[in-house]
Amino acid sequence: MLPRVTPIVETADWAASKTKSINVRLTGYVTQIDVAVDLSVTAATSTATTTTDDPYKAMSALKFTASNAHDWISFTDGRQAYWLSYIKSQGNATVGSLPSAGSSGTVTLQFSVHPGNYFGKTDDLTRVIPLAGKTNVQFQVTWGAASAIGTGYTITDASLSIVVHRMILKEGESEADAFAPAKYMLVPRYIPVTYSIDGTYSNYTFIKNIPTGAYIRDVFLMVVDSSDVRSNSDVTKIQVSDNKGNTPVKWDSWTKLVNFIRSRFYLPSAPAGIGLLQFRDIEGKDYGLDMTAASEGDWKLEMSTGASGGKIYCIYEGADMVNINPTVVG
């Protein structure tokens, strides 16, 4: 196999509250997508107080998908993409500063989506998206409203572009040869789920089922309060339990988890409300939890909450085991 780094010329341009797509007419096995966004923003003389990730609110959803395929990559809030990339890249996702009050400017956002186990390697075969035989392969962005960033800020224009990292078969090389001795490949499937916090729950009684139907490696969590600001106090504890009451992963303090994530991923800061639970911690398996034939409720996230009205934005990083197709030849 050979690595390729391919910028796509087509861009997804600004259209408030609309979904725009970039067609990806490539072959090979996608390992990573680098995303760059230029936002043109005008700031009124009076603007709301913002946090680091507010420019990412310009994107209300991001998706990499194709006809008759699961969503390989999927985010339901631009901030998820930023923070997941932030965690995996040791804090090196990019977000520009918003213009000062009364002026205009371009805000640059840049992050990478890498579903594999080794973020630093663009030839990482642990999770690949095979493009052979797929139609309508698209990277989609759903833009937010012009006022999505916050009071006083208006998005006047935007453009999203991507660079695709992939591995291609050498001439005459078959897929079976390339992946041998493996007989399968693991294809990523991001499962975004948003939980609304409808009350104050103690003793881990805010319970949500872990999705089934795939190998679930981890869950990324972004907790926001009722004002949509990331918070460390809306979820206060979290644990993973099975249907027999075992709790192999237990955090008796959300803040401890946030600080632990900082040290575990060598982050420069511990961003409020950002957590990641790796299901490798349960059975020592790199793929996490085998939920392919599980029933709803076999594994659960159980949380304590400190306030009502907030939300928990989750991305379950899953994967499907797909047969190697020996008829695919480079």
Binding site: Y118, S241, M321
Partner: protein, 205 residues
Amino acid sequence: MSAEKFIAPVAEFRPGDIPYGKGLLLDLALIPGKLTATLMRQLVAVFGKPTTAEKAAQLSKIGGVLGLGVNSFLAWLFNRGWFRRLVGETGSEALAVGMVMAAIDKLYPTLTVSAQDTDLSDAVSNKAVDKLMAAIGKGGAVGSPELGSPELSSQLSGFPETQSSAFAPEESYAGPELGSPDLGSPEAEDPVQELENILAQKSQS
């Protein structure tokens, strides 16, 4: 009609100048005294609904003091004229003394009880114990954060010897019922982990 003519001979039964009769009367009088003192303690415990050992100890002290008050009142009552006429001088005096003796006897252990040595099953009625156990079983807040955790709920379902049945065997985590017969076997026999290893090796090479 007074009971004096039946009770007085008993009280005067002193073979060899040893007051067996009076001892017997006082001993009998202790029975209702202890009954009322214990009853007060039980009532306070039931209506106070102790959910922690600390509260049970506190209720025990209240019950002890109330028992003293009630028994003192009864002792006073037993010395009234109409009661004296009914049971006679000796009987009413014995009952009054029995009441006070029982109250004092019960007071000391109730006042000195501490949370550490409080046995909830003794301090409250069986019904209250059942309700308490039900509350713990539901994982409700019962004073100690640990009590609400699933682990303890599981432990409560069996003695240590039987915990192996209360807890799933290690290999059943996400286990065979989830469709992967090799889970729980050595890692090399897990086909998905084996695939991960191969792909990781190819990525690192």
